[in-house]
């Protein structure tokens, strides 16, 4: 695999045609990837919280679900009216601490918020590895449409999403 462009917390990365995008050590955060089949471009945000409540929304739009989705659209240069051609991948949103007293359920709320935002834009989720109680890392190969999700103490999940993403197989 080519070198991975990693999105750190609250960050966004993107690539066109080829390259690998990923996130390391997602707990309650959600790696939110949008793919545009028309331009073969992918953009990824490492979303930390469901909604914006501070200045960071301007400097670090990837941090919040509500600001990350529009920011990803801008990165892909796709207006909201045409967003339905995009495909989404969601990884993360786990609750690692099961019986936490101040149960804010950030992971669950991140996933819910993203689903709501994506469905409003009529963006279909083609792959999802979310919720549960484990942390995750993942890599997505933009050229082939293959995703690889790793969790501690579990076999890596590898899936070919090329058909779902409308990636045409080129002759090797």
């Amino acid at each position: 695999m080519a070198e991975v462009k990693l999105a750190g917390m609250g960050e966004m990365v993107w690539t066109r045609g080829a390259g690998v995008l990923g996130c390391i050590g997602l707990g309650s955060c959600v790696g939110t990837l949008l793919f545009d089949p028309r331009t073969h471009t992918a953009a990824l945000a490492h979303v930390m919280l469901p909604e914006a409540h501070d200045q960071d929304a301007f400097t670090l739009p990837g941090k919040y679900a509500t600001t990350a989705v529009p920011a990803l659209l801008r990165l892909l240069d796709v207006p909201p009216a045409l967003a339905s051609r995009l495909k989404a991948i969601l990884v993360g949103g786990g609750e690692l601490f099961q019986n936490r007293s101040q149960a804010l359920r950030i992971g669950e709320r991140n996933v819910e918020a993203l689903h709501k935002l994506l469905s409003e834009l009529r963006i279909g989720v083609v792959f999802e590895h979310t919720r549960g109680s484990s942390g995750r890392s993942f890599e997505f190969d933009v050229a082939t449409g293959q995703i690889r999700v790793r969790a501690v103490g579990a076999t890596a999940v590898v899936q070919d999403l090329s058909a779902a993403l409308g990636i045409l197989r080129r002759a090797a």
């Binding site: 750190g8 050590g25 707990g27 930390m48 950030i106 501690v152």
Partner: protein, 202 residues
């Protein structure tokens, strides 16, 4: 930041960390019969980019951690992180056995780590309470064992929720006898810092 952190105030927070964890580590030494030493606490204003450099563990390595809510005059969250090998050292000392891997991590092992966290955080809060006269209560710890970055970010994101900045007092403790390192983080609600500084007269 809502509360300006000048050098004096940073020093004061560091000193509080020292006194608090001094008490906590003494309690751990009493419990285990092993001498633990403290490293100088670091006071950090945490932002999302500095997160990955915290606690000096590689992001995907397995760690065991707890987090407890603290209520009262200096509310916040207290968290402990142990790299897996260090947690195994604690288990060996306290119950004379350790799990071969994550799949063998049963309730007994969890309760040992929870108890260690309870005792240490309890002593930490007691030391602070003696110095400041604050009333502090802690809730039972929540437990997780997972990738370091996932555990750390889950602790911090929740603490970050509803406040603009996050302050962390990080202290490492170790023992020369074993290959052991533990990390303690206190994440105070930043809005309540003035109260602490007021009591300390700075």
């Amino acid at each position: 930041m809502t509360t300006a952190l000048n050098e004096l105030r940073t020093d004061a927070l560091r000193e509080i960390g020292n006194i608090g964890l001094g008490g906590a580590v003494t309690a751990l030494s009493d419990l285990t019969g092993v001498l633990f030493t403290l490293e100088a606490p670091q006071v950090m204003q945490v932002d999302t980019s500095s997160l990955s450099s915290m606690c000096c563990v590689s992001p995907e390595s397995l760690v065991v951690g707890t987090v407890s809510r603290v209520n009262g005059d200096w509310p916040g969250e207290g968290a402990f992180l142990f790299p897996w090998q260090s947690a195994c050292v604690l288990w060996q000392i306290l119950v004379q056995m350790s799990p071969g891997g994550l799949e063998e991590l049963n309730e007994l092992y969890q309760s040992v780590i929870n108890e260690v966290s309870n005792i240490m955080l309890g002593n930490y809060l007691q030391a602070i309470s003696q110095m400041t006269g604050f009333t502090l209560h802690m809730e039972p710890p929540a437990f997780a064992a997972d990738m370091a970055m996932a555990v750390l970010s889950s602790i911090l994101v929740e603490a970050l929720y509803g406040q603009r900045e996050l302050l962390a007092i990080e202290t490492a403790f170790r023992t020369p006898e074993h290959e052991f390192r533990g990390y303690f983080l206190y994440l105070p609600e930043t809005g309540n810092l003035e109260k602490l500084f007021g009591v300390l007269g700075i």
